[in-house]
């Protein structure tokens, strides 16, 4: 038979635990919100970076094309380096 004092002690402890849990939950909730915002921001940044990369890639491809169709005569030095590398690998 549990005495009243024991009950009271256990209830106080449980109450304290509940308060801690509640606080912890609130903290995690705020943290999650913060993470969500961060994820959203990073996502937007990534999209921007991605589109920039694509642009650069397209630009490079465009520069390369003339070489396949024959020397246009105005390719830059770095492109020439690329072309030489490819020939070396083949």
């Amino acid at each position: 038979m549990i005495s009243i004092l024991q009950f009271k002690a256990s209830n106080t402890a449980m109450e304290r635990q509940n308060s801690e849990l509640y606080l912890r939950n609130c903290q995690i909730m705020m943290e999650n919100e913060r993470l969500r915002k961060k994820a959203q921001r990073l996502n937007q940044e990534n999209q921007a970076l991605l589109s920039e990369l694509r642009r650069k890639l397209a630009a490079i491809n465009a520069k390369r094309k003339p070489e396949f169709e024959g020397d246009m005569g105005s390719s830059s030095a770095s492109d020439q380096m690329e072309a030489n590398k490819r020939q070396a690998l083949e």
Partner: protein, 747 residues
Amino acid sequence: MDTSKYVRYTPEQVEALERVYAECPKPTSIKRHQLIRECSILSNVDPKQIKVWFQNRRCREKQRKEASHLQTVNRKLTAMNKLLMEENDRLQKQVSHLVYDNGYMRQQLHTQVNSTTTDTCCETVVVSGQQQQQNPMAQHPQRDVNSPTGLLAIAEETLAEFLSKATGTAVDWVQMIGMKPGPESIGIVTVSRNCDGVAARACGLVSLEPMKVAEILKDRPSWYHDCRCLDILSVIPTGKGGTIELIYLQTYAPTTLASARDFWTLRYTTSLEDGSLVICERSLTPTTGGPPATSSVRATMLPSGYLIRPFEGGGSIIHIVDHIDLDACSVPEVLRPLYESSKILAQKMTMAAFRYVRQIAQETNGEIQYVGGRQPAALRAFSQRLCRGFNNAVSGFIDDGWTIMDNDGLEDVTIAVNSSPNKFLDAQYNTLSILPTFGGVLCARASMLLQDVCPALLVRFLREHRSEWADYGVDAYSSASLKASPYAVPCARPGVFPSSQVILPLAQTVEHEEFLEVVRLEGHAFSPENIALSRDMYLLQLCSGIEENATGACAQLVFAHIDESFGDDAPLLPSGFSVIPLEPKSDSPIAARTLDLASTLEARTGGTRPAGEVEGSKYNHRSVLTIAFQFTFENHYRENVAAMARQYVRNIVGSVQRVAMAIAPSRLCSQMTPKCFPGSPEAITLARWICKSYKVHTGGELLQVDSQAAGDAVLKQLWHHTDSIMCCSVKMNVRFCSFFICKPSRT
């Protein structure tokens, strides 16, 4: 006498004491002495010790109850904690992926400038970048959807997509404002942002077994008030004891201004390896069969569903995802926010489902008090019938037997008649409908666009001040028609007959978002010819959406006349008001007054604006108010009842406009009201009401000035009246000032 401090009772003594305690936990000293006398086992115990024993026993009981309550709270908090930790985990993983990709791409960009990388490297970046985007809606290859294997493939795909929304971040979820994080809250509710259609998600703990939860959630008509019918057209069993169902779901329209929506879906029920139950659902294309949309617009359900995980102690953690495309483009522009609002979806579907499951859980576990000897289920049935009946009236489906009557030239009030109400009305009403004189049911409806009126506030006002808009004569007609011996001639005198109401609460849901009550209308007759009319009438009334933290939620007041006997199967013909907020759009111009909706639509299509509109005001909280009143009529009195109903609803529209003006923050008046009040419109309205009320209660005039005169004069006279004491209270978080003017009673 035993003088030792600590008394030890024998087991027999304890047993005897416990028996008495069970009957009477707090016996008086007389009773205690009587106990010692009558009970031989306790005869040699000191009376003071008995008193102490009972004291201790009560204390122990209190502590025990406290402990049990704390344990329940603890369980809920632990469940919440687990959910939050999981979400935290997912989010951290997501963020770290994004950070990695981000870094990698920056590096790529940096080295690209020097162009030493090869093509294949860039491709990898492109691919992995895509994976981090929101769940791409992949093109589904053409499938043979008429075969079980084809359906199963769709089902499995639906399952995967649903899970990625429920426990992943496939949709951009945003925490809904106003959800309390405490243990009694519904759990985490989030709504969508930037996705196709609208989506809402909720999760939390309920104390019901997963199978029972699944059963309740699959029975959509029981918790989704806007659901008209759910037809399961075929059931296909799958491996692992699952099922695939093809379902036609028909909903009611929330307003009279746009068609109802329907869905043709596939629903897949299965269990996962970890013991969780999943019910997921998505729309099928029309090529797969399904009923053609008749008076409804076909809407799309994107993968949605319920994930039910068992939790210790016989409970479940539920995740609900609703993702719907309501075809907002086909509704009038002014209504479009309603069809694009994930908050309203959350309230009407996601949270409704969750709250209902919680309600059933509490009823099953015996945590609900019975009221007046009625089972909670019977009261819930009342609520459902009221809601359903009202929705029926607002929607007025032709295949339910409704036809529109010709109007009297003005477009403001629509009258619809149903001569064969057997199809939709409660079966109970058929007892009246078999009478030879029974002509049918008539419904008068109107819609209004309100500006800057909080739905909860308006509905609360309508509920508390019924006498401001209701007509006793009309109520008397409705009440009499219940008894199958209605008035020969309905009366429609404009609100001269005074009446008051007494509200008797009946039941409310766990979170008080909806409550059922009985309203007793008492007529006060002062003249002999009115005595006959004066009688007590009863209404069964359902009120939802007006709880404390319900800002920006839909509110509704639905009531029906009911016989005093309140039988469980009493016939109900509901009428009422429904206010739905339209979320503010910052870019559309604003009207500075309440408008009849027809004129708004005209203004928009015509391209001209009604004069007197004020643009560029800071607030833009609009809502749609739908009013629907139903009456039965006898064969030969259809036109009379129609005229009465039309006039009644027109009067109500006027009353609501008046109330809305008083509730909304004061601004420059437009041509809607004939006069401009330099004083506060609320005070003047109140002054008028006081005069009216005085006249009603004492038969005399309070002021010497005609109450229709300029409001200022009324207010001035009242202010200077010799008997008036003015106390005023202003609620700061509510834009409504109330002045109480007390009159000492004349002896």
